[in-house]
């Protein structure tokens, strides 16, 4: 893949993973509360998938960083730091999953 495209992908993946975890967790909680369909394992799997995607993006970012120009390298660093913060976010979401229960 073209290096610029790969960089954009690395920038977009962590935030997408975090958002997907949030939305899916919300959806699964609604499913459990309003439809009585509880899929507890699914929500944890979502967390795991989000973590893997984010860490993956981080690793790729580090790999390509040295081949980029000044601007690209800067974007890569910012994106890597952002991914680290979003990892915290995904972990916080998992904590909510583990410790906040119930519907109303």
């Amino acid at each position: 893949m073209n290096r610029d495209r790969l960089l954009w992908l690395c920038v977009a993946t962590p935030i997408t993973a975090w958002a997907a975890q949030l939305l899916l967790a919300y959806f699964l909680a609604s499913l459990a509360c309003f439809k009585g369909i509880a899929l507890p394992v699914a929500s944890h799997l979502v967390t795991v998938a989000a973590l893997i995607a984010t860490v993956g993006a981080l690793l790729v970012t580090r790999r390509i960083r040295s081949d980029l120009g000044a601007g690209g390298a800067f974007l890569a660093s910012v994106s890597a730091l952002g991914a680290a913060v979003l990892l915290v976010g995904i972990a916080l979401g998992e904590l909510a999953l583990l410790f906040v229960r119930g519907c109303a």
């Binding site: 949030l22 967790a25 909680a29 609604s30 120009g69 601007g71 660093s77 910012v78 913060v85 519907c103």
Partner: protein
């Protein structure tokens, strides 16, 4: 580094003036596309709305000064807080910051205008007319009374039969057009027009923040537009989106509104933070500390900001576990906010401060925003929120964030950039008086509200019983509000005085770091006679001899042009030709006004007239002007392209596709959201399952039509005009056939939009898509007309590429609709 018009090049300067000047008459006033004029108009108009919103606030505070007063009746009070909130958010804060962005971004990035100058003018006219439309509710004595977030069912037809809310929601849909095109324009300008060498790590932070703000605009506004449009449909034709009796759900409004509404907080805050990041380093005389951290904070805040909307809905009965996630996300957003604060404070710490007025306002902002942030974190905690939601605690919180977070930086920005815009300095002694009265007045007005809220005073009440601590707290608040008014009057006096008598500023009165100070004050129409080469983050503090990018003078003086550069590294790619002044933007905005006024009056003839006028204005707009076709100008756009990338026009259409796709996503999400709440099946049992044969034929036609269009595009890329025309016509016919099939399907339906929420969704989604098909048909018709006149060639056919992109998007959107409305129904029903 100094680049201001130097004496050696008088002929260059005269040539640039000749191509960039607008006509000096009334016509020139309307047709100008100069970003500086447009920016200044945005600022002035938004300031008028600030005064109006401020007067509304003062009337409310006068009413609340003492318990049990009857200065205004309850209904008027409701109208006042609704108009105040709406005005401050939509007609003051957002456009004011767009005005600064408009004025400053091209100067800061070393460009001669915005990427789409005519779109820029259009955005301004739409903003003015939309504001006018909303304010017509005063003479019509029909104020909206539902608060700035207009919750259903209160705002629905059953409980608000009067027309007030129609002024509000039609006005917001109309205004959304301005904000969206503004956002697109900022993104493309910043991505493509930066001076050579200004790679993303050298962009001024103000520009970074305008960029993330613009992205938030492009993807948040669609949700509001959809919310307001569905509300109007409920009110006008009796659909059931928000009506539980018909299978709708009032919470759908809350979701759609806050998916827009929380990012909107950052749309307001981010540019203001960018102002602070511009002002601080100049007045502590050192580069900003933690530039990467500040960029990171901006990007993250906007991104996370899209995922926390439900924290406005903690009290509506969402599943507790879901509240847990949204609470967690709301806490997460404190990380970038903290980073930002740390960087600002470190910058002040590390430098030596010059206590000018601009700097005072920036520091005042930091103090107030810290307080607002703290109460925000408190509200992010569920149990606390449940306690004080809808009380004056919340009013105090969001004024600390909005007023402290936006108005203080704004006044700092006035003092800092007024010299650039007018050539004269504001008076510093009046400035200090301005700051002190505002800071004291603000805290006097809003700090007591925290306490009033915790004592149980609800927001949005027109009075309260006397004999408690609330009496004194409210009186203090009112006194503070009037002190703020005094402060604003001081500012206006300073402005009026300085415009005529202020000290002459010179190009760079503050010894600043960024490019807007490299040109004269006020800047010449063409901004820069030679475009600077950027070699560092603070180009004006760069000790090296300044360099300029090479640009043939004959080309620069024969047409409006600026540099086109690559998005990340800002390598020079091409010289971009910019359009001349035009009446089309103002006409298009006026035509839209007719359309919306017709909707408001429920006058179908006027609506139809407006629609025809809009189409006419768009055709006029897209028709190439004489200057472009004439032989005295180089025809092709990229004759000396160094490394061609996508043209700005293509980027613009791609972003338009993005914002439109977001609208489809919002509509389809609404479809499944209401379907989820329905008990048994979706579509509901009384509606038959959609048949597939006709829709499949239609889909084949629509998707198939992309082939001849793509074929036509490839033909013209080889210079084949005949095949271009054949492909366009064939695609047009196939797509028109799709519409016919769709029409037949409508006729066969046994239900209507009024039947139930399912019917409402089905017809709204498909006809919204149908409108897109019609728009694509109109555009291709224009292409055919232009093609017949031989206006396209191998090197000049950007319009074909852009329309083709739009065409494929319309087909792609249909795939999603088909999957949702037709295929999912086979399973869920």
């Amino acid at each position: 580094m100094r680049l201001a018009a130097d004496a050696g090049v008088p002929s260059l300067v005269r040539g640039l003036e000749r191509v960039w000047e607008s006509a000096h008459d009334e016509a020139g006033w309307v047709t100008t596309t100069d970003h500086k004029k447009i920016g200044a108009r945005y600022i002035a108009t938004a300031f008028v709305f600030f005064i109006l919103g401020g007067i509304e606030a003062l009337v409310m505070r006068a009413q609340l000064a003492l318990p049990g007063q009857a200065l205004v009746d309850p209904a008027t009070y409701d109208g006042l807080f609704t108009m105040h909130g709406t005005t401050m958010i939509f007609l003051f804060a957002t456009p004011m910051l767009s005005g600064f962005g408009n004025y400053l971004v091209p100067l800061m990035i070393g460009a001669r205008d915005m990427a789409f100058p005519r779109l820029n003018a259009f955005g301004y006219w739409v903003f003015v007319l939309a504001g006018l439309l909303m304010y017509l509710s005063f003479p019509a004595s029909s104020l909206p009374q539902n608060g700035w977030f207009a919750y259903t069912p209160l705002s629905g037809p059953a409980y608000s039969p009067e027309s007030g809310i129609d002024f509000w929601s039609l006005g917001l849909i109309f205004l959304g057009i301005a904000t969206t095109v503004g956002g697109i324009n900022f993104i493309v300008t910043i991505a493509k027009l930066r001076a050579p060498g200004m790679s993303v790590d050298r962009m001024p932070l103000f520009v970074w923040n305008i960029l993330v703000t613009a992205i938030a605009m492009v993807f948040a506004i669609p949700s509001l537009t959809v919310a307001a449009a569905l509300l109007e449909l409920d009110r006008y034709i009796g659909t059931h989106f928000y009506d539980p009796a018909g299978g709708g759900n009032p919470l759908l409004w809350q979701h759609l509104f806050w998916i827009f509404g929380h990012p909107d907080v950052y749309i307001i805050f981010m540019p203001a933070a960018g102002m602070v990041s511009s002002i601080l380093p100049v007045f502590v005389r050192r580069p900003i500390v933690g530039y990467p951290a500040l960029v990171l904070a901006s990007v993250l805040t906007i991104a996370i900001g899209f995922g926390v909307w439900a924290h406005h809905m903690f009290a509506v009965g969402l599943p507790v576990q879901a509240l847990g996630f949204f609470s967690a996300a709301s806490m997460l957003i404190a990380i970038p906010a903290g980073l930002q604060m740390a960087a600002w404070i470190a910058t002040i710490w590390a430098g030596r401060a010059l206590w000018s007025t601009a700097f005072l306002f920036a520091v005042g902002f930091i103090v107030l925003f810290l307080l607002g942030g703290l109460t925000g974190v408190m509200l992010g905690a569920l149990p606390f929120d449940w306690q004080v939601t809808d009380s004056y605690f919340v009013v105090a919180h969001f004024h600390y964030v909005l007023f402290g977070g936006m108005v203080f930086p704004l006044f700092g920005a006035f003092y800092y950039w007024f010299p650039k815009m007018s050539g004269r300095l504001l008076d510093e002694r009046l400035g200090v008086a301005n700051f002190v009265t505002m800071f004291v007045g603000f805290n006097l007005a809003f700090f007591p509200m925290h306490i009033a809220g915790m004592l149980g005073m609800p927001r949005r009440v027109y009075t309260y019983p006397g004999g408690s601590a609330l009496d004194a707290l409210n009186l203090l608040s009112t006194a503070g509000s009037f002190l703020i008014a005094v402060s604003v009057v001081i500012f206006i006096a300073n402005w009026a005085w300085a415009s005529r008598r202020g000290h002459v500023a010179g190009a760079d009165p503050w010894a600043s770091n960024t490019l807007e100070w490299a040109t004269a004050s006020p800047p010449p129409v063409y901004n820069f006679d030679r475009i600077p080469m950027v070699r560092s983050r603070d180009p004006l503090w760069d000790k090296r001899t300044p360099r300029t990018a090479s640009e043939p003078a004959d080309l620069a003086t024969s047409r409006r042009q600026t540099f086109g550069t690559s998005p990340i590294e800002a390598r020079a790619e091409t010289y971009l030709r910019m359009p001349m002044d035009s009446l089309a933007p103002a006409l298009a905005a006026a035509a839209l006004f007719v359309l919306f006024a017709g909707l408001l009056l429920k006058f179908l003839v006027v609506v139809a007239l407006g629609a025809v006028l809009v189409i006419a204005a768009v055709v006029l707009w897209l028709w190439p002007t004489r200057e472009v076709r004439g032989a005295h100008l180089p025809i092709d756009d990229a004759p000396r392209a160094i490394e061609p990338g996508r043209a700005p026009g293509w980027w613009g259409v791609a972003l338009l596709v993005g914002t439109d796709a977001t609208m489809f996503v919002a509509l389809l999400a609404s479809y499944f959201y209401l379907g989820f709440a329905a008990n048994a099946s979706w579509p509901p049992p009384e509606i038959e399952r959609p048949k597939l044969l006709m829709p499949l034929i239609g889909s084949a036609l629509l998707l198939g039509s992309s082939a001849p269009i793509a074929w036509a595009e490839r033909a013209i890329a080889r210079g084949d005009r005949t095949r271009l025309l054949i492909g366009l016509v064939v695609g047009w016919l196939m797509s028109a056939a799709f519409l016919t099939v769709q029409g037949f399907e409508y006729l066969q339906k046994t239900f209507a939009p009024q039947t139930n929420a399912y019917g409402s969704l089905f017809f709204t989604i498909t006809s919204f898509h149908g409108l897109h098909v019609v728009s694509a048909l109109v555009l291709v018709a224009v292409l055919v007309a232009r093609g017949l006149r031989g206006q396209f060639s191998r090197d000049r056919h950007l319009a074909v590429q852009n329309v083709a992109l739009w065409w494929h998007f319309v087909g792609g959107a249909w795939v999603a609709i088909f999957a949702a409305l037709y295929l999912s129904a086979q399973v869920l029903r």
